[in-house]
C-alpha cells in the first residue's frame, strides 16, 4: 500500500518520466541540422542585439523583495488555516473562536497591505513611462489620394 507522500513521489516520477520520454523520443526522431539562423535567439523577428546577461536595474529587486515578504506571510497562513475552522474549538467557545481567528488574520494581512499601499502611494512601483513625441509633420499628399489607390487595387 502506498502512503500519501508515496503518491506525491509517484506523481514526481511520472512527471519526470513523461518529460524524458517526450523529449528523448523527439530527440531520436528529429533531424539535427543546426545553422546560425536557427540557433539565434528569436527576438520579435529582429536580429538579436547582444545577449540577455545585461545589468538590470536594482529597482527590479524591490519587486522581488515584496514577493519574498508576501511569500513568508503565506507560510503563516498554513497553520492558521488548520485551526481556523476547527470544529471542536468553535463549539467550545460558542462560535467566538472563528471570529477571533478571522480578525487576527485580517489584522496580520492588513498591516502587510499597509506596507504595499505605502510603496504604491509613494509611487515606487511605477515605471518611468517614455514620453510619446507627437510630430507636427503635415503630409502634402491628401488622404483622398490613399483612398483612391485603395479603391484602384
Amino acid at each position: 500500500m502506498v502512503s500519501d507522500f508515496g503518491y506525491i513521489l509517484l506523481f514526481i516520477i511520472t512527471a519526470v518520466t513523461f518529460c524524458a520520454v517526450a523529449l528523448g523520443g523527439a530527440f531520436m526522431l528529429r533531424p539535427n541540422r543546426p545553422n546560425i539562423e536557427k540557433l539565434s535567439t528569436y527576438e520579435s523577428g529582429e536580429a538579436p542585439d547582444g545577449n540577455a546577461s545585461v545589468r538590470f536595474n536594482i529597482r527590479f529587486y524591490i519587486i522581488a523583495l515584496l514577493f519574498v515578504l508576501f511569500d513568508v506571510e503565506l507560510v503563516f497562513l498554513f497553520p492558521w488555516a488548520t485551526v481556523f475552522g476547527n470544529k471542536i474549538l468553535i463549539e467550545e467557545t460558542d462560535g467566538v473562536w472563528g471570529w477571533f481567528a478571522l480578525s487576527e488574520m485580517f489584522i496580520f494581512i492588513g498591516i502587510l497591505t499597509l506596507g504595499l499601499a505605502y510603496a504604491w502611494v509613494k509611487g515606487y512601483l511605477d515605471w518611468a513611462r517614455p514620453v510619446v513625441k507627437n510630430s507636427n509633420y503635415q503630409s502634402k499628399i491628401p488622404a483622398s489620394a490613399y483612398e483612391k489607390i485603395n479603391q484602384k487595387y
Binding site: F5, S53, F56, Y61, L65, V68, D71
Partner: protein, 170 residues
Amino acid sequence: MQFWYFLTALTLLSALMVVLSKNPIHSVLYLVFTFFCISGHYVLLNAQFLMAVNIIVYAGAIMVLFLFVIMMLDLRRNMPDSKSNLTKLAGAILGGTLLVILVAVMRKTQFPQFSQMGGKFDTQTGMVENLGQVLFRDYLLPFELVSILFFVAMVGAVMLGKREAGERNF
C-alpha cells in the same frame, strides 16, 4: 532506509553540481533541486510544515532573489575567470577548516536517546495542525508582531531601492 540513501546521494550530487557548474544560472537551478531533495528529507523526518516552508520560501522566493542578484551582476564584464593558485589555496583552507569544525561539533554533540525522554516523544510535533494550535494559543502576540516586522522590512526595502528623479529603468 533504502530511499533515504538514494535521496541523500541525489542531494549531495546536486549540491556538488551547484559548486562545479560554470554557468551561474545552472548553479541556481541545481540549488533549487537541492532544496527539493532537502524537502524530501523533511518528509522522511515527519516535519511537513518545514517541507512546505522549504519549498515555498527557499525554492520559490530565495531562488528568485538569487536570480535577481545574478541579473544585476554584469556577467559579461565580471566573468569569473580562472582564479590564481593562492585564491584556490585560501578557499581550500577555509572550506577545510569549516568541515573540521562541523565534524568536531557532530562528534561532540550528545543526541538525546528515546529512553532519556521518558517515553514522551511525540511523532506529530512537525505537523501543521500542531503548529497552528501552539501558534494561536501561546504565541499569539509574537505572531501579530511578526507582521509589524514584515511591514518594517517592506518599507525599508522600498526606501532603499527607490528611484531617483530622472533615473532610467535600464
